[in-house]
Structure formats: C-alpha cells, structure tokens
Point group: C2
C-alpha cells in the first residue's frame, strides 16, 4: 500500500504542509519587521543593524561564534533615566530616613544628618566618599534577602517626581529593543552598572529580561554565617568588594565573563574604560554612547551641544572627542530616538 | 491539481515522513538510554535521577523553573584527580622554576627556594600562606592573556606521574555524565573551585563543556591600564580578590549568580559551606560529596573508612557525619562508579 493511501499519514502530511507554509510566512514577516521600531533611521540605528548582521553571518570575516557574543549595557543614563539623581541614591536617602530610628547617632552625624533633615543643598554637594558612606550604611548589616525585600518594596511604591511613574517605567524603549534584538541574535546581554548589583537584580529580569547572573555592579562583600536555627545565611558586612565604575567595569567584566564584550553601551566617563576595552578585543566590536540632548522629552546635559555637565552623567568634551576619534557611535536622544519611553504617545 | 500530484511537493512530504520516523525512533532510544552509564545502580545514581525528574516535572511540588536551575561543581577531587597534589600547585611549582631566572632573589627566599631546589619534603610541609605566596607570585605581574598562554602551554605538555596522561584526561567520567544530564534538563552547570578561576577557564569549555562565564574560582584582582600603543589591557597585580574556599564558595556563588544553587557537588571541608547554603535554599535541592575510597583505580583517603586524611581533600569525619545527618549523598568511588576515567577499560 502506498503511503498516501493511509488516511492518518495523509492527514499528518497535510498538517506538515500547512505548518511549513506558516513557517515560511513567519520568516517573511520577520524579515520585513523592523527590530528597532523606536529608532529613527540614521547612523546609530544602522550601526546596530550592521554589527548584528556582520557578526552573525558565517560567511563574514567579522563573524563572531555564539559563545563569544556578549553585550554590556551601563544602566543609569544608558538604559534608564539618571537625572536629576540616580534612582538608587533616592532609594538610599529614603532608606536613611527609614532606618534612622535604629541609628540615633545619625542625627548629629554627616552625611546622614543632612539626609534626615532633607537639606537639599547639602545633599547636592555630597562628595563621592559621602555617597559611598550612605551606600554602605544602607546596604549592609542585613541578610541579602532582607536587602532584596527592602529594595523591592521601595520600587513598588516610589515614583519619579517628574512623570509620577515607578522608576522601572523610566526605561528607554530604544535600548530595550536593542537588547532584545541582540538576544534574538544569540548575544548574551549584561547590565554593567556603577550602581549596586543587588539593587538592579531586584527588577532586571522583569524589566530588562536580564537574569540576576548577568548583572555586574558595584557590590558589598557578603559574609557566610548561621542564623539562630543553624541555617546558613549570607549577611552584608560594611565592606566594598567591587566598585564597578571607570576601570572597575572592564575589570569586573573580565571577572564575570572571562572574555571581552563585543558590544558596549554607555553614556559617561564611568563607561570610558569599558568602551575602550571592548574595542581592544579582536574582530568586530560596537561601542555606543548616549547623549542626553532632549530637554523636552527627557533631559539635556553634557557638553557636546554646549550644555553644562552635571553631577551625574559626566559626558565630557574629552569623552565626546575620544568617541569621535575612535569610531564610537554617539546616540542623540533627540535625533536617534523616535520615542523614549514605552508609554510615550 | 491535488498537492500530491506535484512531484516536488511529494518528495518533500516523503522526506518529512522519513525524518519524523527517525525522530520518533530517536526519542524512543533516548527514553531507554541510561543518562548515567558510568554509575552503578545505587542510592547516589538514584538521587541524581530523582532530583532531575522531580525538579523538571511541572506537576511536581518540587518543580524548579528553568531560570532557577543552577548546579555547582567543586573541581579538585570532585570532577578530576587532586592527589597527590592539586594540578594547579604542580603548575605553579613548574612556573616558579620557569620564572626563576627573572627572580634571582627567589634562590635564597622561601618558599621559592625549596621549589627551585626540588625539596620534596619542604614542599609537602608548605603552609597555606606559603602556597598563597606561590600562587600570587606565579599568577601576577602579567596581562590576563599572558597568563592564559602560560597555563595553556603547560597543560598541553604536562603529564600526571601515575597515568602518564595530560591532567585534562583525569576527569571523572561519571561526573561529566552528571553535568551533561543536568544540562540536558535545563540546568546551568558552574565550576566552583578553590583553584584559580583563570586556570580552569583555559580548559573548562573543552573538557567540561562549561564556558568561562560559568567558572567561579579564587582570583587575583585585575588592573586596567594601557600598553605602549595606548590600547586598554588588564594586568594582574599581586592582590587576592576572591578566596573561593570554605565560606568563600556560597559568598561567590551569590556574587556571580544572585541565587542559591539547587545542586552542589563537593568532596572536602572546603565545600561544606557551599553544600549547606545550597540546602538552605527553598524547595528541592541535591547535595553530594565524593568519597575517595578506591586505592586501586584512583586513591583512597579520608576517614570514613578508617583511611587517613591527607593534606588535600580533607574529607573529615565531621563532614561525613554532617552529610549523614543532613541527607547529603556520599558517593563511593569504589561502589558507585562503574568506571572512573573515559579511557578506562
């Protein structure tokens, strides 16, 4: 009996035929769909498309094998809003107020005193060392789970003062699209932030689709010990283990990945070394920096358009010049991004 | 015209039919194939099979979602031979001899002096601090690429004195099978070693199928700087960043993964805290320790069978008792492993 006389088999074959047609149709639609719909056509968008196209094409001399496909994204000012204050600083200030009753000494002790008093002028002039003191004080002395719960609770309730939305809604939609596009092409996306690793881990999977093991950030040490019931726990001593800023970024990328990233996205001098070290790797690489030049839809700061640098996001003229001389792509929020936030009209 | 009158389509449909039959046949074979053929039937093998079965079954209360599937493997004495000396110690001793001409001061300076003189008795009595001195001296003062090249070259030429084989052939075949079986079921396998992270990274992908970003180990710091041409490079200062032994293991697993491992494999007191912390996580977990009780096929040491503990692989009576009281599985090399090495007859 010929196979096509068996009705069951024939039905299966027809089903296959339909699936095949559907599959081909999907591929055709896929090919026509813009993977970066929130980007205007321009050099920045083309740079991402070209990079992915050439590094995933086996016939291209710049082909990158899947196991080497890593892309590193700074967070503050690169994948979400950092102005007028880093979100984690707002969180830490709130935590100082929340924890103050357990620390009566803070009332007369800087920098805590100014935070408790809400002295805006003093807070704006805190030194790096004072910010670190606040970071350490608010992130240590508890189990890793207790910190996670504090951060999660704060993020669920806190709102940005300008848009009155949770901070996790202030993600740049074009960067989310770039992350997804890279992942769809075999790239592992990492957040590489000067902020706290454990803070970002609270929302990274949900917000960026980046799992906790792909978050590299500044980190306090942990200390293994036992709770009252003899169960193993990890608590945070007040000791900085990783300062993931400036040179810390390439150093920590190497610690976590053991390879160069192939693509790196940043927006400030804190990302300079990461961008340099990415470019120092073999083969094709992609380096991009976000220029905040859109006061209307977001903020404008940095010198590239004669705008003043601010305490955060120090996109200096020197960084701009280095970018231009080395072939890094400067992303203009104003010109390159069709929309900035997912909820934008 | 009916589709089956088009010869091209008919050929395609027939090809599909053949593929489908082949696929079904493969699935059937797969179902009957033992994923752990180098394991004898017994409690240890059953523990692995049960753990994977229950944690990957959506209907089971102990189901573990894919994003939480992490398995941690100690290396020395757990996934390869550690007796009579850790491989990396042999490497470091050889490196001391190789680097000695650049360090004339070592001739009169312990512990280097004894290594250069080949004073076996002295070397066997080195303190932990002296081993660390040797580790730091031989692993620092060069770029990460230079160290990689040194280790790769050594591994290509060095041979174990007993079996006269490259050290990378002294991998325990049953553990390789456990790794592959876990990976086939969605687990990400990590090496979590007291040895040097960068040493293991040289061969981990090829030997264990574990990529560099899944190697957690002891590590020197790196320092970002520039070469003569102004290119960004990472060099090793003589500073220990991570001591991935004892409490360091759960601490570093948290640093790298941000979650508890669900399964952990070790063989000594250096793994105790990792095993404890794994068990302290929510839901089903698996903890296993390798007992070296096979003097004929490998080595016998540790107290569980009245054997003396040695300088390496301190599987103490206290650890054995903890394992028994907490439901960890003790793997007897003699009884649980049908064969130890891939090349064994």
């Amino acid at each position: 009996m010929a196979p096509n006389r068996i009705p069951g088999f024939r039905a299966i074959r027809l089903a296959w035929l339909h699936w095949a047609i559907l599959l081909l149709a999907c591929i055709a639609v896929q090919a026509q769909t813009d993977p970066l719909p929130s980007w205007n056509n321009g050099a920045a968008k083309q740079a991402i498309l070209n990079f992915v196209r050439t590094t995933t094409d086996r016939g291209n001399p710049n082909y990158v094998p899947p196991e080497q496909r890593f892309a590193a994204f700074d967070q503050d000012g690169t994948t979400w809003v950092e102005h007028p204050m880093y979100t984690e600083i707002v969180f830490a200030f709130d935590l100082v107020k929340q924890l103050a009753p357990q620390h009566p000494e803070w009332k007369t002790m800087e920098p805590f005193k100014s935070v408790i008093a809400g002295d805006q002028a003093a807070m704006e002039n805190f030194t790096t060392k004072q910010f670190e003191e606040i970071f350490v004080a608010t992130h240590s002395g508890m189990t890793v789970e207790a910190f996670h719960a504090l951060a999660k609770d704060w993020l669920a309730h806190a709102q940005d003062p300008r848009w009155h939305r949770p901070y996790t809604e202030l993600i740049y939609q074009p960067m989310l699209e770039a992350m997804r596009y890279l992942r769809a092409n075999g790239y592992k996306t990492y957040t590489v932030t000067g902020g706290g690793q454990d803070f970002v881990r609270v929302y990274s999977e949900q917000v960026y689709g980046i799992p906790p093991e792909q978050i590299i950030g500044s980190a306090l040490a942990t200390q293994y010990t036992y709770d009252a019931a003899g169960k193993g726990i990890l608590v945070r001593p007040p000791t900085v283990l990783l300062d993931n800023n400036f040179s810390g970024k390439p150093e920590d990328i190497y610690l976590f990945i053991g390879r160069h990233a192939k693509a790196a996205f940043g927006n400030s001098t804190g990302d300079q070394q990461m961008l340099e070290y990415t470019q120092a790797g073999a083969g094709a690489t992609l380096e991009m920096i976000v220029l905040h030049d859109d006061a209307q839809r977001e903020y404008a700061y940095g010198p590239a358009q004669g705008l003043p640098a601010t305490a955060v996001g120090t996109f200096t003229q020197a960084l701009y010049d280095e970018a231009k001389s080395k072939g890094w792509f400067v992303i203009s929020m104003k010109n390159d991004w069709k929309r900035i936030f997912a909820w934008e009209k």
